[in-house]
Symmetry: C2
Subunit: 417 residues, 2 copies
Amino acid sequence: MDYITELEDQGRVAKQAARKLATLSTVVKNQALLAMAKALEENHSQIVIANAKDIANAENSGMPKPLIDRLLLNEARIKAMADGLRQIAALPDPIGETLTGWQNQNGLAISKVRVPLGVIGIIYEARPNVTVDAAGLCLKAGNAVILRGGSEAINSNTAVTAVIAQAAYDTGIPQGAIALVSTTDRQAVTAMLKLNKYLDVIIPRGGAGLIRTVVENSTVPVIETGTGVCHTFVDESADLDMAQEIAFNAKVSRPGVCNAMETLLVHADVAAEFLPDMLERYHQAGVELRGCYETMKYHQAVKRATESDWAAEFLDLILAVRVVDSLDMALEHIAAYSTRHSEAIITKDYNNARRFQQEVDAAAVYVNASTRFTDGFEFGFGAEIGISTQKLHARGPMGLPELTSIKYVINGNGQIR
Amino acid sequence: MDYITELEDQGRVAKQAARKLATLSTVVKNQALLAMAKALEENHSQIVIANAKDIANAENSGMPKPLIDRLLLNEARIKAMADGLRQIAALPDPIGETLTGWQNQNGLAISKVRVPLGVIGIIYEARPNVTVDAAGLCLKAGNAVILRGGSEAINSNTAVTAVIAQAAYDTGIPQGAIALVSTTDRQAVTAMLKLNKYLDVIIPRGGAGLIRTVVENSTVPVIETGTGVCHTFVDESADLDMAQEIAFNAKVSRPGVCNAMETLLVHADVAAEFLPDMLERYHQAGVELRGCYETMKYHQAVKRATESDWAAEFLDLILAVRVVDSLDMALEHIAAYSTRHSEAIITKDYNNARRFQQEVDAAAVYVNASTRFTDGFEFGFGAEIGISTQKLHARGPMGLPELTSIKYVINGNGQIR
């Protein structure tokens, strides 16, 4: 079967499945999630065998070790995936919640009720755990899902999807509610991005290149995730010990994620006191430093930052550092280079804190905390399908409610207009 | 200046304006709206003169009378536009509302606060009142707006925008907060759809062709509005008098709008009792009837409906009528042909009402009322920028809150992760 036919079939069946999923009780959905978890554990050896093919291919193609490690599945990691499904089962069901309700002037009782989005397309890169995670979250929110994983993980994803889709079906979830695009042909992504007839939304999860491809080519509505050029601004009134701890944590604790800091902004009045120790600490931790001329004065390891460094999402132990003359200059810098993900000010000044939070346009705006907290689990959502960097529909960490829509349910007794 | 340069300039200035608009108080925004209203009234003669050029061009190009009437501006209509702005001023300001707030496990105080979307692009067709309405709603919700009206109304739109933009600027609204694309070149629309750097969302308002063009070509997120293939299902338990009133109202009261009924579904058990009178009443009202074979039995004026009639948004005194054997068949028909705008069941049966409201996937699902109520004003929103037929971000009538996004404002005292 060619991939267009497969996609059309999967889309049509998913749309039918979505109609049934929308009316399933929480009990049925949770039973399915628990059965999927159990099935993953029971079938771990066949999943590991499939994964071994992906690992062998990756090694033959010279994939770097850290990426191979991300791809690897073993019994412990499969157990972790299963536990993830159990956690999703334990979360409250967003579907059916009445968000608001009122009676209009004609006596119509209008309720705004949370309903599933319908059919969600997820396009993602190598980690096979996303397959399970995305399928579980979509199912809990009453959505059908069409998954399109990276070619490096195709054998793992195929094995994992077969196991969880069968377990779901066996517990009463309609056929086709969880589907995986079987081809690794890139044209299938292009076709998926035009599948408006069946897909209600596409969520890309991966690097900047993937996100850009999806945003530029999709006619299906997209929730853009991920890119984070996050700043921390050390105000002239900052507690400098606190500032050092936060700025160090924001860069070094996990540099490869989107909520890590990429640029440190320091008020000129505290630069001489703050920067020498701070820069030395980064240097000791192996952070490559790229700064403005002023910053370069305070540590010999600092190289001159270029214009492109201010806009870079390094995702690595690299930091851009700039000394600014004022809060206004910090706000201008952030407005110019931020991807509107997470921004922080370290300050003891009430008015500066207030202005920063009001004027910075980003999903999460912090006072005196690390940007690393922008995360569905840290926020207490108990789940995360991604972090939206767009303003439409969802912004910031997306949990189950962000995988839903609404409908107006209206009861009358003969009203005409 | 070529249109690409103009658009880029307008986008850049609008983005700067949006930063300031986001922090303006309700008082300032309301003063601007009232000043805009006053300026429209004071400058009505120059607007009428500009409008006369559009009317002359329309007559020369042979535009049908009803469309010319839609295009016409006179003192009374300008007064109505001004009153619309005053109504927007009287509405509650959505910006700054704290939607929810909590403390996370690390002691971070997290608030989810309503903020403007940023810069909104509105692409619309001939009615010049949309210019004022859209500008007013966007301003009240703290957004900058770039308006792109139809070429038929370019002189009217230019005059109206000049008046309201100046009045807004004079009361403290930043320059460029309200802008109109000055060219009627269609390429400007294409360029606007790719203006991701400056536009946060595009809302098309107009016919199916315009909406399709925008959805298929925009890389900026879109809120799709408008198309309504709405059904009314007369259940076997319906109060047939009520059913007749509702079904007549839904088709005839204003056939050219998206919430008008396009297809009437009738349960076979009541067809013989219900349809003869109903069809005769439609016939008397000048409604062209297109039905299934079963429907054709009940009135000689009924022509055979084709497959395309079931999917048609007639926006006219034309109605498709189908007799169905069951609620299930009605639900299947609606799932197959509905545009998920507004759907109604007329019934006295509790379980049928419940099933219909749960299983029909549409923005508004009615029991015993006319679909014509799907409207921001009828819902009591006090405003309407359009009716969303997509599931992402907004669904159904869109008022001021639908022109907003959120941000997380987070206060800590040194938290690191």
